[in-house]
């Protein structure tokens, strides 16, 4: 715009919305109060980090030099861990597709999505470690318990993510399919899924990355894989071995992350 000529009426900034600024201040106050209250409960004590620094240094030095003598065994266990993650993730994707659709507001009535969502909440609320402990009791020690634990927990997470993608779709293509006289299932297959597919693939790959990390941990409760070996060496105070195992875990997780990021970019 050029200089406003005299013909233009004077402009003024809109009035500040006092109610909104008050709400803003109130929100921040609430957040700071929450932080303060949690300080006590979490027994926050940053001073220890400084006063006990020498302790930590000594502990850290116990890990070196790393002991890679049994590297082939570690690698074999790491592969089992990845296999746990693969099956846990694939099973959860298969389950999350119907559960995700059934917890979408724009697809099913409330009396369907409410109970399904609560069920998914439950699957999500309990950590995979806890599930692993339960499944170890049911199916015995070993990788299968780990697969089941990841399966149940990840289904809860993916179903939520999937349904959020479904709730954000354009209604148009669904109506396009509906107008041909198609059934409700067809509407989902041709109207909904093509729209959400890239998101779903991206979420699934991301959960696979997370599950590789989780699979290393659930070994701690006996659900197979590298986690078991790690836990054994820590309990035996064989820190050089534990360090070597951790290096292998870090390398594998990094590799998987890079791989899945590359894949995700290609899909979208």
């Amino acid at each position: 715009m050029q200089n406003a000529g005299d013909s233009h009426p004077a402009v003024a900034l809109p009035k500040r919305d006092t109610k909104r600024s008050l709400m803003h201040a109130f929100g921040w106050g609430l957040f700071l109060a929450l932080l303060g209250l949690s300080w006590e409960g979490a027994e926050m004590n940053p001073g220890v980090l400084v006063s006990d620094a020498s302790n930590m240094l000594k502990f850290a030095s116990d890990f070196f030099p790393l002991d890679f003598h049994e590297w082939d065994f570690y690698l074999a266990e790491m592969v089992i861990t990845l296999q746990i993650a693969v099956w846990g993730t694939v099973l959860s994707i298969v389950a999350a597709i119907p559960f995700g659709i059934l917890s979408s507001e724009n697809i099913v009535p409330w009396w369907v999505y409410q109970p399904v969502r609560r069920l998914m909440d439950a699957a999500r609320a309990i950590n995979e470690m806890v599930f692993a402990m339960l499944f170890v009791v049911v199916v015995g020690l070993g990788p299968f318990a780990g697969v089941l634990a990841l399966f149940v927990h990840t289904t809860g997470i993916l179903a939520k993510l999937f349904s959020e993608a479904v709730e954000a779709i354009e209604p148009g293509p669904v109506e396009g399919i509906r107008s041909t006289g198609a059934s409700a299932i067809h509407e989902v297959i041709f109207g909904v899924i093509p729209q959400v597919l890239p998101h779903w693939i991206s979420f699934s790959l991301y959960r696979f990355e997370s599950n590789v990390r989780s699979a290393t941990v659930i070994g701690l409760v006996g659900a197979g894989g590298i986690g078991v070996v790690l836990w054994e060496s820590i309990r035996a105070f064989s820190f050089p071995q534990a360090g070597a195992i951790m290096v292998i875990i870090i390398l594998s997780v990094t590799l998987i992350d890079l791989l899945s990021q590359w894949l995700r970019k290609r899909v979208i």
Binding site: E175, G176, S179, G181, H186, I189, F190
Partner: protein, 288 residues
């Protein structure tokens, strides 16, 4: 002539705001009807009710102190909805009614042919449809439909790679595969350039004339209504204010529909020598 679309006492409120007010009309087989009116006059709402994509106000609902009569919409002798309730078999009936959308509403990630063959969803077994595994005969029907709209050479291309006009012609092909006897087109050319608009409307009216289909097109541009349709229904604030042959559209009426200033916008000028006819000014301005 037999009645193809019949609407009785259709009223619709969106969150208490009236969108359609006691609309009743009948349309006979083979008619090409233009639905005109300003934005928000209820054109789309009316079309969507005919296809059963929206339901009318519930019967017995109070409006202005008196009970509304039962709204009933039927197409080809089958009730689509009555008293705000969709008919049980509405999905079957929808197959006989093709709907062309302003935004085309194709499956972007699928090929053109695949999109068109989806028109057969209602008549192939459900499992085949679900697996996207259509018999060869249906695929040939789809190819023939594509040929009719001049899009057969794009059959293998993804729908998202086409221009708007091309997508709209693919959408027409999908309705042809449906075997729809009635075509409802909701602002089919509102997001297209003039050249594509003419191509789309030309295709739409040509194939429907060949197949004796009944067509209802909602349009923004009065010029197109005059060119392609024989009957015009004009809506204003949810009421029918004109219903008759296109030739009877008078400047006075258009003035009332759109307000006097907008006549220019619609590419229409009043011809002084013949006060009751409307002439199109230059072609480019005929599209907003």
């Amino acid at each position: 002539m037999d009645t193809v679309i019949s609407i009785n006492n259709l009223s619709k409120h969106f969150k208490g705001k009236p969108a359609l007010n006691d609309v009743s009309l009948t349309i006979s087989r083979g008619e090409t009807v233009a639905l005109i009116g300003a934005s928000g006059s209820g054109k789309s709402t009316l079309l969507r009710h005919i296809a059963g994509l929206l339901t009318t106000d519930k019967s017995g609902q109070e409006a202005g102190g008196c009970d509304l009569p039962v709204c009933c919409v039927s197409v080809l002798g089958q009730t689509i909805q009555e008293g705000g309730q969709l008919a049980k078999k509405v999905r079957q009936h929808r197959a006989r009614v093709g709907f062309i959308f302003q935004q085309f509403n194709l499956v972007n990630r699928m090929s053109v042919l695949n999109n068109v063959v989806l028109g057969a969803l209602a008549r192939v077994p459900g499992w085949r449809g679900a697996l996207n595994w259509f018999p060869k005969s249906e695929q040939l029907v789809a190819m023939r439909a594509l040929q009719r709209v001049g899009m057969d050479s794009f059959a293998n291309q993804r729908a998202s790679t086409l221009s708007g006009g091309q997508q709209q012609r693919v959408a027409i092909a999908r309705a042809l595969v449906q075997g729809a006897e009635v075509l409802l087109a909701d602002e089919p050319v509102a997001s297209l350039d003039p050249e594509s608009s003419r191509r789309v409307l030309g295709t739409l009216t040509k194939v429907s004339k060949q197949d004796q289909k009944t067509v209802v097109i909602s349009l923004h541009q009065v010029e197109y209504a005059r060119q392609y349709c024989t009957r015009v229904i004009a809506l204003k604030k949810g009421r029918i204010v004109f219903d008759g042959p296109t030739a009877n559209l008078t400047p006075t009426l258009l003035n009332e529909l759109y307000g006097s200033e907008s006549l220019n916008v619609h590419g229409l000028t009043l011809d002084a020598s013949e006060p009751n006819t409307i002439k199109s000014s230059n072609e480019m301005t005929s599209v907003i």
